[in-house]
Subunit: 177 residues, 4 copies
Amino acid sequence: MTTQVIVLNGGSSSGKSGIARCLQAVLPGPWLALSIDTLVEAMPVSMQASGTGIEFAADGGVSVGPGFRSLQKAWQAGIAEMVRAGARVIIDDVFLGGASTQGDWRRALAGLDVLWVGVRCDVKVAEGREIARGDRVRGMAASQAEPVHQGVAYDLEVDTTHTEALACALAIAAKVD
Amino acid sequence: MTTQVIVLNGGSSSGKSGIARCLQAVLPGPWLALSIDTLVEAMPVSMQASGTGIEFAADGGVSVGPGFRSLQKAWQAGIAEMVRAGARVIIDDVFLGGASTQGDWRRALAGLDVLWVGVRCDVKVAEGREIARGDRVRGMAASQAEPVHQGVAYDLEVDTTHTEALACALAIAAKVD
Amino acid sequence: MTTQVIVLNGGSSSGKSGIARCLQAVLPGPWLALSIDTLVEAMPVSMQASGTGIEFAADGGVSVGPGFRSLQKAWQAGIAEMVRAGARVIIDDVFLGGASTQGDWRRALAGLDVLWVGVRCDVKVAEGREIARGDRVRGMAASQAEPVHQGVAYDLEVDTTHTEALACALAIAAKVD
Amino acid sequence: MTTQVIVLNGGSSSGKSGIARCLQAVLPGPWLALSIDTLVEAMPVSMQASGTGIEFAADGGVSVGPGFRSLQKAWQAGIAEMVRAGARVIIDDVFLGGASTQGDWRRALAGLDVLWVGVRCDVKVAEGREIARGDRVRGMAASQAEPVHQGVAYDLEVDTTHTEALACALAIAAKVD
């Protein structure tokens, strides 16, 4: 069977998007890379600061309302359809709901060949990278590092603490059929 | 019937994305805004300079290869599915193939209630705005202004030459059921 | 005498940076364009949310603390020195203190040939453009439109309400010696 | 004596800007961070593709013309003046001319207390990070890694190959008076 979808799950600043770009560079054939940030940017600006959308608290906490969840389900269904229509897709996500978010993706991606990848990073290191990038609310890395992996099952886990994004991508690519 | 999709078609620097953001602000309920730029950014960097992807020539010409077209079809199918799954979507596109691109979208969006909007702008004005924004290859506005509308049928046309994005958005919103 | 500095002053979303890029395209010889945004981006992230730096309130109000003002004075002195060292510079600023900010610039630019340009825009139009660009806090355009011009003297004023950035730039360029 | 300027020199993708942001976070008091990218962005778009400005070749080579060098000297003089006017500044640069570029900075910064820092990174690792970030021409990291350090004297060298940006910043901060 041929791998059709690669799902990268990890906390903020764990290095997912760098791995996604490296995967696009090392995998044979074109893969689309779509992330939770793509979805957030597609939403109305107003949803980013209201109870119905997504909120980034000053301490790095992220909460999403019913409006966000409903658009997210449609987004997941749409990405699954892109795959059924022939595109191979790398999904770069933050499972804010842990196992429950994985359940949502499982339902959306039913019947497709998915490689589930956990992207881990020592929380102190992720916090340092959050400072170095300078474009994220301080505290997101710390508050997401553990909860996003709770109860989630993976085919493969990588850890960016001491391993470069390209090396992680090569390890993942070795599991792609 | 309820409008589910708004398709904005126009050349580079005609003002589509500004109208899309204004529509998100004035329409009741949340609408996702997805553009051809979203798709290009999701592609591998390497496709942006190869015969199979999309190429931006020094004179502003844009050409796409078979790899691009194939991902684009999957992208179109996926957006249609997002709508079927309940999201309302504003599509901001450049019909490089004119009527033929509209045909592709019609097939993908079959059965959905679509509002087709042409976004026009005097070519001299669009060229000036291309200089003012500074992030587009010079010449794209001029080379796309006319061809993208060739043979395309609209429910409504707006012209940003003398009309602000917000006013265009209000005119479009008045046609949304 | 030869114009060495062009200062563009106007409220948020009045169109200053588009005019600056058009000036760079139409003026003979290279001009550097430096804006208040360049300075803010050079500051520590932490200053953007503390009493000593710059704060963007939810209603669009902007307040700056003593730490900001002190770095701003050094910034102004430095830009003046770039000009004395031979660079021609377009400064794109928001005179939050009106005449008092102009006084600061006058002292910094003493002895240089400066063209002072006011960039105006009808407040309703600027508010619409603020929505269309989507990357500014709502309300900045409205709260800055008038105060930034209070007591400020210009060599030339342009109004982007009905005039494109390129046409404004050409009018300014005609005054550059 | 009090350190007034920190100069970070290293090739593309060696990690300079991440270190600069971490320095801003860990050093007491506000420091401005200005990079060669800030200068390039301030230049006319046209200079980025002409013989007089800066050119990024398809293989990652970077060449600068006389127009670039002349604006760069003015830029260096201006930054030195910002420091004399009281700002503390982190300069993040790529010494394309090696020792000769350091000589230019020495002349500009004469009389100021400067901490010279070399930022190194194993070339294979830097190449991988260039792929991971996705916004740089492939090959820049490799072609700049060694030449930018040729004949340059440092107070301190850091190596990002196995050390995080934050840890490098703490090592540098320990040398700041």
